[in-house]
Point group: D2
Chain length 187, copies 4
Amino acid sequence: MKNHYPPIHSTPNPSDNITSLLGSISDTLNQSRYDITKLCAYLAASSSRVFVVGAGRSGIVLCAFANRLMHLGFTVVVVGETTSPPITTGDTLLVVSASGRTAFPLTCARKARDVGATVIAVLSDKSSPLAEVSHLVVSLDLASHEYPLGTLFETSAFLALEGILLSLAQTRGVCEIDMARRHTNLE
Amino acid sequence: MKNHYPPIHSTPNPSDNITSLLGSISDTLNQSRYDITKLCAYLAASSSRVFVVGAGRSGIVLCAFANRLMHLGFTVVVVGETTSPPITTGDTLLVVSASGRTAFPLTCARKARDVGATVIAVLSDKSSPLAEVSHLVVSLDLASHEYPLGTLFETSAFLALEGILLSLAQTRGVCEIDMARRHTNLE
Amino acid sequence: MKNHYPPIHSTPNPSDNITSLLGSISDTLNQSRYDITKLCAYLAASSSRVFVVGAGRSGIVLCAFANRLMHLGFTVVVVGETTSPPITTGDTLLVVSASGRTAFPLTCARKARDVGATVIAVLSDKSSPLAEVSHLVVSLDLASHEYPLGTLFETSAFLALEGILLSLAQTRGVCEIDMARRHTNLE
Amino acid sequence: MKNHYPPIHSTPNPSDNITSLLGSISDTLNQSRYDITKLCAYLAASSSRVFVVGAGRSGIVLCAFANRLMHLGFTVVVVGETTSPPITTGDTLLVVSASGRTAFPLTCARKARDVGATVIAVLSDKSSPLAEVSHLVVSLDLASHEYPLGTLFETSAFLALEGILLSLAQTRGVCEIDMARRHTNLE
């Protein structure tokens, strides 16, 4: 963790930061092409319910994914929401956690594995307990360490999942009208 | 809304979709540089409480922003969470809504304006009622219409807000250790 | 709204307050026996999806109901949660709102009615716009005005819904083991 | 856990269930008068921030408490909401868990104790690990086992907390107008 962020010479213009961040996301995800394709192929072939869990901003990124995945016709459960059913054999649990060590998502991953669900992790630390417990790991090797806390991990995970969603729409032949039909009309 | 998404020749590789999407986000945000800088400057100079509200994925993107903004030392309220206080004169309401017409965020914007709060909108439709009621508008002119539903708007809004957060950290001299100290220890 | 709550002679012992509150809840719900039975009979006979919406503590009470209703085998949707589908013909929307005038629940009720869903309201003001738009109204005539804000309404609504849940379990022959099987295993 | 709930002779009338449940809540809370008064006295004297955490319906009951406690002027944090700050020395963590063994609330209780916060538990099993880690325990000895799952625990906890809120309003001299002033105006 850096004591003096940012470097004294940096300019606080947001657009420069955006350009730099987009470049770092692109570099990060290019290194993880193979893992991302594997996750996409798994979901494309799967008819299982998809449970998602993550803490903080990783969990928030997963909510964006969950919402759109539902638009594509998947049955999706956000762990912790009011009417979440139990996870069981044949279900999939998708966990996003940079460290792979956050207590609650890790507890969920272990429980899910115990009951026979498939556990998939998007993480940064391949030697973490979450990596060990997971059947499929999407490892994001961060291309820069210039961003505070999980910024690069979370934004990269978000974009990786968006790319997967676009591919799933294509693979499954889900058009925009289908998605709109599944969008809530109470908001 | 397109009946046949995606075009028949497109390839379902997620990495190609990511590259394409990153390019479209970059193009979109380049056109909105001035608005993004204005929002950043406003927040940098402000000591007001920041309320955020949005529906669906726009609201989710705002949660990611709210969480990190709190790490920077701001007082942040996510409208609708359990202990949200009332908004009042001197507060700021940040609304994200592509259409600028979603019922609940628009109701909040009007109410906030009525009580003397500053209303800021990130939106796509500059002629919407939300644009009219807002004191400051960040207009995202989407650089492509190839993505289903709000995909390009939501990812662009997310990246715009991330760029602003990085600038705020720089402007306010908040280092990573300060942010980590404000991060929840119960997760 | 009372300026001087509570009367100067009242004792702040919580157990006395509990006794008094339980009595007032009982009095309130006794006056609404017929309406409560109607709602119970409707749900017992229904195989429709049940959407629930309410603001503040009314919405919280509905979450408790939604969770247990799911345990009983109903398909339940909490409006506003991440993967909520659209409401449509044949669905049921249950709204809890003392005033029957809170903006968002009322908007939902109108929209639900427009699309052909059945709208049910638990409310206190029978002349409210929510009462007008609803197909079935459970009116709670508060037996006391000694409690601040919605305390008596919210606790009475909670208990009314708990009584209904117990009856539904009985009517549908759902035993505790069935319910436990539907309880989340990730918490 | 009972295989055959309810007894074959029971009538499914919701009002009878309400009457019976109100009686059981009253019996349960009468046995816990001393513990409830202790918790009330603690909160009345405290100026610390109050964090709340619970799973499922116990967590929902805590949200209702958190919302009204905020109306009384307390600083309240619902663990897991978007902008929750870290808990630290001098803060209070209130946990509601019948079994005292649910993974996440228990993890939070241990962490809170480690950092020097005061841990308070409302629970049913006095020999649970949560009881052990807590500085103050409100033990609810359930007066009946006729209700499925946590029904009697959760409704009793809800009423106990409502009684405490009424006493706190009285002790602190908070009138209804004060509370209404702290109620959200965006809903």
